[in-house]
């Protein structure tokens, strides 16, 4: 049997006038997968979702759900349900009626719909909330109602449009985990959009990084983080240092980039052939930078620099340093381990840093 998919997009294009909001996007989502679309504001994520849900028609291309083309199928006939950016709970109905709404639309009797709605509310941790008015719920509870309202219909695919956007930070962290758990227990396919890379990295099985209407790269969170395919992905997913310079030398996969100041960075070519003299971008993750008080401790590393701490960004385990370094226009960002003798470092102190050639991703600009 061929590998089955829940959702396939084939060369989907959506134009608003001359502006292509979604430009030639193709991807597939496997059953039970948590698939995220990550991109900056205005890149066309919502437009893409709305086409899958059936609120917009693609200008060209095909959208298939379980191998059935959805072109021309109205929103209320598609086996997809959407959790809206604004949640869009029905304010004129109680919590129970909100959840039962979809069932009664399908012709399920009132009594049975109510019973199934109550069971669903119990599963999302809202037992006994059926009679409540939707305005009398907290943000997290409203969130769960919006999801329960979709899941009760047992859809092939649930679309979530930045559902955590309106929540405060603490609740958002909590809901991230809860959403992932809900998805696992119901084993429903989720397509999730967000502009928050940490949300996408934490929850997803696979992520598509979107920019200006097109997909830059599709892959697992680790792939995106460690092997970005484009400069956009390298800078959008996770923290990174980004330097622009010219290719100074390239041979046998080894590549060196000369910054405008003359400083040279040794890196590795990642499959793209680089031409000497062309402009290039080099990326290094802050956690790939080793710090030491003596330069001798870094002797094994090809890239070694010396600088002065310009800021200590304390954030527990995510603490980092900004280091003013000779040869670099902007301070270099490096993760500061909270154990060891460097943990107590102060602004103004001198420090040595180094990183391997493998840690440097070079792209032609």
């Amino acid at each position: 049997m061929a590998q089955s998919t829940d959702l396939d997009l084939v060369s989907v294009v959506k134009r608003f006038g001359a502006h292509a909001a979604v430009n030639d996007v193709s991807f597939s989502v496997a059953p039970g997968e948590f698939f995220s679309i990550l991109g900056p504001s205005g890149c066309g994520k919502t437009t893409l979702m709305r086409m899958i849900a059936g609120f917009e028609n693609p200008t060209s291309g095909d959208i298939r759900i379980r191998d059935k083309s959805m072109i021309g199928v109205p929103a209320n006939k598609r086996p997809v349900n959407m959790v809206f950016q604004s949640l869009a709970l029905f304010p004129m109905m109680s919590v129970g009626e909100n959840v039962a709404y979809g069932l009664t639309c399908r012709g399920v009797s009132r009594a049975e719909a109510e019973e199934r709605a109550n069971r669903m509310l119990e599963r999302v941790g809202l037992k006994g909330f059926g009679e409540r008015h939707v305005t009398a719920l907290s943000g997290g509870q409203r969130q769960r109602v919006a999801i329960a309202r979709c899941l009760v219909l047992e859809p092939t695919l649930v679309l979530l449009d930045e559902p955590l956007g309106a929540l405060d930070l603490k609740l958002r962290e909590h809901m991230k985990i809860e959403l992932k758990q809900l998805q696992a227990t119901f084993n429903t396919t989720f397509a999730y959009i967000t502009h928050d890379q940490s949300e996408a990295l934490v929850m997803s099985d696979r992520i598509a990084v979107m920019n200006q209407g097109g997909f830059e790269q599709v892959g697992s969170p680790r792939e995106l983080y460690h092997h970005p395919a484009t400069p956009f992905v390298a800078s959008f997913v996770g923290e990174t240092n980004r330097w622009q310079g010219d290719v100074a030398a390239a041979s046998n996969g080894a590549i060196s980039v000369r910054l405008p100041s003359g400083a040279v960075i040794q890196g590795r070519d990642h499959g793209q052939s680089q031409v000497v003299g062309k402009t290039a971008l080099a990326f290094v993750r802050p956690e790939a930078i080793a710090l030491a008080q003596e330069t001798s401790a870094l002797s094994g590393l090809p890239n070694r620099f010396e600088g002065r701490v310009s800021a200590v960004l304390f954030d527990g385990a995510n603490s980092s340093l900004l280091i003013d370094t000779v040869g670099f226009d902007e301070p270099v960002r490096a993760v500061l381990p909270q154990a060891g003798q460097l943990a107590g470092i102060q602004v103004g102190e001198a420090i040595h840093m180094g990183w391997s050639a493998d840690a440097v991703k070079v792209f032609s600009a």
């Binding site: 209320n76 809206f84 604004s86 029905f90 709404y101 399908r106 309202r149």
Partner: protein, 289 residues
């Protein structure tokens, strides 16, 4: 709890014009009319207290039949206006954008730049036997002779619906405008048909607007005078005509006052029933209007 005396004085001064206006123009005349309605004429210029004027209403079939007819026709006109105004308001509130929306509202407002009398006369030009519609039908050969469209219930209803339309559209469009588009989309997304979404989401949301518009149109219709008289002619039989006749033609002010009170009672009762039926409170409704 206790406000400082000077703030209370300010409040009093601020409210004084409104209180005066209410008192002089609304409460006072109605108290007068109420008192008047309970005085019976026993001899020329001799009046005594009594319920005779009200008894007269119940014993004379013409009066209470006209009364009932006015009530039923007004409800019918209100319902028709609502049914006609709903799609228009829906279009103005949800589909039309920017300038088009302003244009449409202006278009609804346009007929009200001329007086009600002129508007009604306009309808007469169209509908009378020698009028435009009759002429066109004849000229196109659809009918052999002239047709009189005036002086029947249809003409009266047409005129009243036309006059009430704006007052229904505005509160309806207001109510519909505040409906979040995503809520409607969610209604479809979860499998609702157009009809389900309309019935379970759009109409419940618009309910305060529906009730507000209906109350306004009903009140305007019940109390209308020119339209039923001009378009209905002898067959108009509107209760306001009876009041007019008592006050002006018969010079029987106490009888007219009693009719006036009954009409007030009728509108209040029907509005109250309407509010009860739809489960709306007067407060939320007034906010919408």
């Amino acid at each position: 709890m206790s406000a400082k005396p000077d703030t209370r004085l300010t409040l009093f001064l601020l409210l004084a014009p409104a209180v005066l206006w209410l008192g002089l123009l609304i409460v006072l005349p109605h108290v007068e009319i109420l008192i008047l309605s309970f005085s019976e004429r026993v001899a020329p210029r001799v009046y005594v207290f009594g319920f005779g004027n009200y008894l007269e209403f119940f014993t004379e079939p013409l009066y209470w039949r006209t009364f009932a007819r006015t009530a039923i026709m007004s409800i019918l006109v209100t319902v028709l206006t609502l049914v006609l105004a709903f799609p228009i308001a829906l279009y103005i509130a949800r589909v039309a954008q920017g300038r088009l929306r302003a244009m449409l509202l202006l278009l609804c407002l346009l007929p009200f730049w001329v007086s009600e009398l002129v508007r009604t006369l306009g309808w007469m030009m169209l509908l009378r036997e020698t009028g435009v519609i009759s002429y066109v039908l004849q000229a196109t050969g659809l009918t052999g002779q002239r047709i009189e469209f005036l002086y029947n219930d249809g003409a009266v209803i047409l005129g009243l619906v036309y006059g009430g339309l704006l007052f229904m559209i505005v509160p309806l469009a207001n109510a519909l405008e505040s409906l979040e588009p995503a809520v409607v989309e969610a209604g479809f997304d979860l499998g609702g048909s157009r009809w389900t979404v309309l019935r379970r989401i759009v109409v419940p949301h618009a309910m305060p607007g529906i009730v507000a518009g209906s109350i306004i149109v009903f009140m305007l219709t019940v109390g209308n005078f020119a339209t039923p008289v001009l378009l209905g002619g002898k067959n108009g039989l509107w209760f306001t005509e009876q009041i007019y006749a008592q006050f002006i033609t018969r010079f029987n002010w106490p009888q007219g006052a009693a009719f006036g009170m009954l009409l007030l009672l009728l509108s209040s009762a029907i509005v109250w029933a309407g509010l009860r039926l739809t489960g709306q409170s007067l407060g939320t409704t007034l906010k919408q209007a």
